[in-house]
Structure formats: structure tokens, C-alpha cells
């Protein structure tokens, strides 16, 4: 069976359209770059100031002045552009980014995301996450359905939230869920899971789409 994280990344790849400007967060979101559907071209933006970020360089070809938002050396594709941090967040906050894919700690039944701190245990700081969730045209959350068996899709976030903006899509290894003003709509399910199983691993109530499909 395909690794759960790869399954999530592959499904999110299918959400991207030709010409999209896309920002991928650290972790599962980074894997999405391996699953861009054939025939489309997307542009990767990184908040440290580049559009047109390419894959990791071959060993020995690193340039310390060319990194991604995780501090790793990357490459710049032909046609890429560099800018300062104010421009980078003008793109993000100003609604010029088509899609952001971020990891999540919790999403609640209003589609509100918490992904930047666990009080008393992990306080990394929000970095660019609050701007990304507030400003991108589409926010896709990539996360495993549960953490140590505990649901991550909850009635109400107990962790500090990232933005009061409702996210657009949640993709886990078990389900594709679309938040809407009335709650959370289960749009797709893993072919090896039943709706009842998915609901039992989800604290928030799931509405089931009439045209529920299997995840591909």
C-alpha cells in the first residue's frame, strides 16, 4: 500500500491547475511537488523571496545564497525571479498566490486551522503561516487524519488558531473534506475505508456528499 503521506501529496497534486502560483509548506506539503500532473506547469513561490524554485541541487552544486523557506539549498529554474520579504508577503497577503498547501495540527468543524503552536510544548512561531492562510486564494491542509490515534479534525480547535479564515480543502490519507458554511463535507474517501470508519476517527460531524467518490 502507498505510504499515507505520499497518498495525501498525490491527491493534492491533482488540485493544481496549469499556471498556478503555489506555496508549499514544510513536511507533507513539500511532497506535493513530486506529484504535479503531466501536462501542467505550476510556479513554486517560497516566502524567503523566489518564484520559480526548482528541485534540490545535486550534491556539490549547492549555492548558500539560494535556499527555501526551510533553509535548505534549492535551485532556481530558468525564468525564476527573486524579491525581498516585503514583496514576498505582498504576493501572499495580497491575494496573488493561487494555492497554499500547509500542514495542520487541528482543523475544526468551521474549517478553522491551528498549525503553529502547542502551548507549553512547542512554540516555533508562526513564520509565514498566518499570512499564507489569511491571504492565499485557496488554502489546502495536508495532514494525517489522526495523531497517535486522536482525531485532528475536531469540533473546536483547542490549540491557538492560525487565522479566522475558513480553509478550502482538507486532504488526509482517508478522506477529502471540504469545509462549507454549514460544516464539513466528506467529498471523497479512501477506497479501503468506510464512511463509518472515517467518522469514528473524526471528532467533528461529517456531512456526506451525495456524489461521494473514492480517492484516486
Amino acid at each position: 500500500m502507498i505510504d499515507p503521506k505520499e497518498r495525501i501529496a498525490r491527491r493534492i497534486g491533482r488540485e493544481l491547475s496549469d499556471g498556478d502560483l503555489v506555496n508549499l509548506g514544510i513536511g507533507i506539503p513539500t511532497l506535493v511537488s513530486n506529484y504535479i500532473p503531466a501536462g501542467i506547469r505550476v510556479f513554486f513561490q517560497s516566502e524567503n523571496g523566489i518564484i520559480g524554485m526548482g528541485p534540490l541541487p545535486e550534491k556539490g552544486m549547492e549555492n548558500g545564497d539560494l535556499t527555501n523557506a526551510g533553509g535548505q539549498c534549492v535551485t532556481a529554474l530558468p525564468g525564476s525571479a527573486i524579491f525581498d520579504s516585503a514583496m514576498s508577503f505582498s504576493i501572499i497577503r495580497g491575494g496573488h498566490l493561487d494555492v497554499t498547501v500547509l500542514g495542520g495540527l487541528q482543523v475544526d468543524e468551521n474549517g478553522i486551522l491551528a498549525n503553529w503552536m502547542v502551548p507549553g510544548r512547542m512554540v516555533p512561531g508562526m513564520g509565514g503561516a498566518m499570512d499564507l492562510v489569511t491571504g492565499a486564494k485557496r488554502v489546502i491542509v495536508a495532514m494525517t487524519h489522526t495523531s497517535k490515534g486522536n482525531p485532528k479534525i475536531v469540533k473546536k480547535c483547542s490549540l491557538p488558531i492560525t487565522s479566522n479564515r475558513r480553509v478550502d480543502l482538507i486532504v488526509t490519507e482517508l478522506a477529502v473534506i471540504e469545509p462549507f458554511p454549514g460544516g464539513l463535507m466528506l467529498k471523497e474517501k479512501a477506497s479501503d475505508a468506510t464512511v463509518e470508519e472515517i467518522q469514528s476517527l473524526t471528532e467533528a460531524r461529517l456531512f456526506v456528499a451525495e456524489d461521494l467518490k473514492d480517492m484516486v
Binding site: 517560497s46 516566502e47 524567503n48 523571496g49 523566489i50 549555492n63 548558500g64 545564497d65 539560494l66 535556499t67 523557506a69 526551510g70 533553509g71 532556481a76 527573486i82 524579491f83 525581498d84 520579504s85 516585503a86 514576498s88 508577503f89 501572499i92 497577503r93 512547542m122 512554540v123 516555533p124 512561531g125 508562526m126 513564520g127 509565514g128 503561516a129 498566518m130 499570512d131 489569511t134 491571504g135 491557538p160 488558531i161 492560525t162 487565522s163 479566522n164
Partner: protein, 218 residues
């Protein structure tokens, strides 16, 4: 603009100064100036930077060596020592969303009394801040940031102080130049006046007070 030795840059910076430092997780930080601060055991600094990098890199070294008493940053997750000092109460940490940090620095440099941003509305970032509603949408009023010194890293300068940055080592550096009373720039090389095309220059030399050549580490 004066060209100075690396050691002289540090004689300008006093204990308890406020200092903005360019860089993003160590990329584009003035590493030689940072090393001088550490060696001279300058302490009590208030730092404004994107992040505290890694313990052995960039701004991270200033944290490990206890040079700072307060930091204003967007991210500390890659430096466990920052988190430890924060939890122990040795270091005051103000966490600011990255885009808000960039605009607060920019506001400080361009004569704006603050900015209105939707980022942080309804989150803990809103605590204690004024909310302004415009056309039915809420914004936080965020205040400008300024500091005594900007410590900036550029790829090269000419002898007028005109600066050119390199790739993603640019990040916060150009914003900080305008937001500080004294601007100290570490460059890898100084080139003759006229050898840089006017179009190529990212920051005009009129803003730069001191330049020190650090060469290229790493």
C-alpha cells in the same frame, strides 16, 4: 559612507543597542559581524530579525552566546536554545507574523505611522491591538519598527556604497537599511564605481554609513 575593518564595525555597537539583522535561517546574514559581536561579548541587545536560525549559524550564535535580552522575530523553531531561554525567562521573545514583520520594518523606514493588516485577526496576535474595520473587513493596527543599527549582508558594494544582493540572501536586508539610524553592511567584495549598472543596484549608497569586507564564509 566609510569603509571600515570588521573589528571597527563592532566599536560602533554598544551594549543594550537595538539592532536589525538581515537573513532568513542564516541565508543572507552578516556572519563576520555576528562573529565580532560574539567575540566582543556585547550583551543586552534587542534584535529584530526574521528568525533565530540554527544554534551554530547566523543570528542563532547571538542567542547561544547570550548577546540578546529581547528579540522580535517570526520564527524560533529551528533553534532549541531560543526556546529554552524563552521558557527560562532569560530572553524576551515577541513573535510577529512574517509578513507583518516585513511591513512593520518597512513602515519604520518609509515614514508610515503603522500598517493595517488582516493577518492575525481573531488569533492571539490580536491581543492588545487596535482593530480597525474598513469596508466591513477587520484589520489589526501594527506599529512601525525602528532600530539603532542595521546589520546587513550584501553580495557586493561599489565605493559609493551602492548595494547588490544575491538570490534569496536578499530577504529582509533591503528593508532594514531604511529603518535604522546607522547602517553597517558586510559585503563579499567592493567593486569600482561605475562597474555596476544603475539598473542592477538594489539599494542606493546614500543610505549606507559603513561597509566592511567579510569575504565569503561557508
Amino acid at each position: 559612507m566609510r569603509i571600515v575593518g570588521m573589528k571597527e564595525t563592532i566599536s560602533l555597537i554598544k551594549k543594550d543597542s537595538s539592532v536589525m539583522i538581515g537573513g532568513f535561517l542564516g541565508c543572507g546574514s552578516p556572519d563576520c559581524i555576528i562573529n565580532e559581536i560574539v567575540e566582543n561579548e556585547i550583551s543586552g541587545l534587542t534584535l529584530v530579525a526574521n528568525d533565530t536560525a540554527f544554534p551554530e549559524m547566523g543570528v542563532g550564535k547571538l542567542i547561544v552566546n547570550k548577546c540578546a535580552s529581547k528579540i522580535v522575530v517570526s520564527h524560533i523553531g529551528t533553534n532549541p536554545e531560543t526556546q529554552r531561554q524563552m521558557i527560562e525567562g532569560e530572553l524576551e521573545v515577541e513573535l510577529v507574523p512574517q509578513g507583518t514583520l516585513a511591513e512593520r520594518i518597512r513602515a519604520g523606514g518609509v515614514g508610515l505611522g503603522g500598517i493595517l493588516t488582516p493577518t492575525g485577526v481573531g488569533t492571539v496576535v490580536q491581543d492588545g491591538k487596535k482593530v480597525v474595520t474598513i469596508d466591513g473587513k477587520d484589520y489589526l493596527m501594527e506599529l512601525p519598527l525602528r532600530a539603532d543599527f542595521a546589520l546587513v549582508k550584501a553580495k557586493k558594494a561599489d565605493y559609493f556604497g551602492n548595494l547588490v544582493f544575491s538570490l534569496t540572501a536578499r530577504n529582509f536586508n533591503p528593508l532594514m537599511v531604511l529603518a535604522c539610524d546607522t547602517v553597517i553592511v558586510e559585503v563579499e567584495e567592493i567593486v569600482p564605481v561605475g562597474s555596476l549598472s544603475p539598473d542592477e543596484i538594489h539599494i542606493p549608497g546614500v543610505f549606507v554609513h559603513y561597509i566592511a569586507v567579510g569575504g565569503r564564509l561557508q
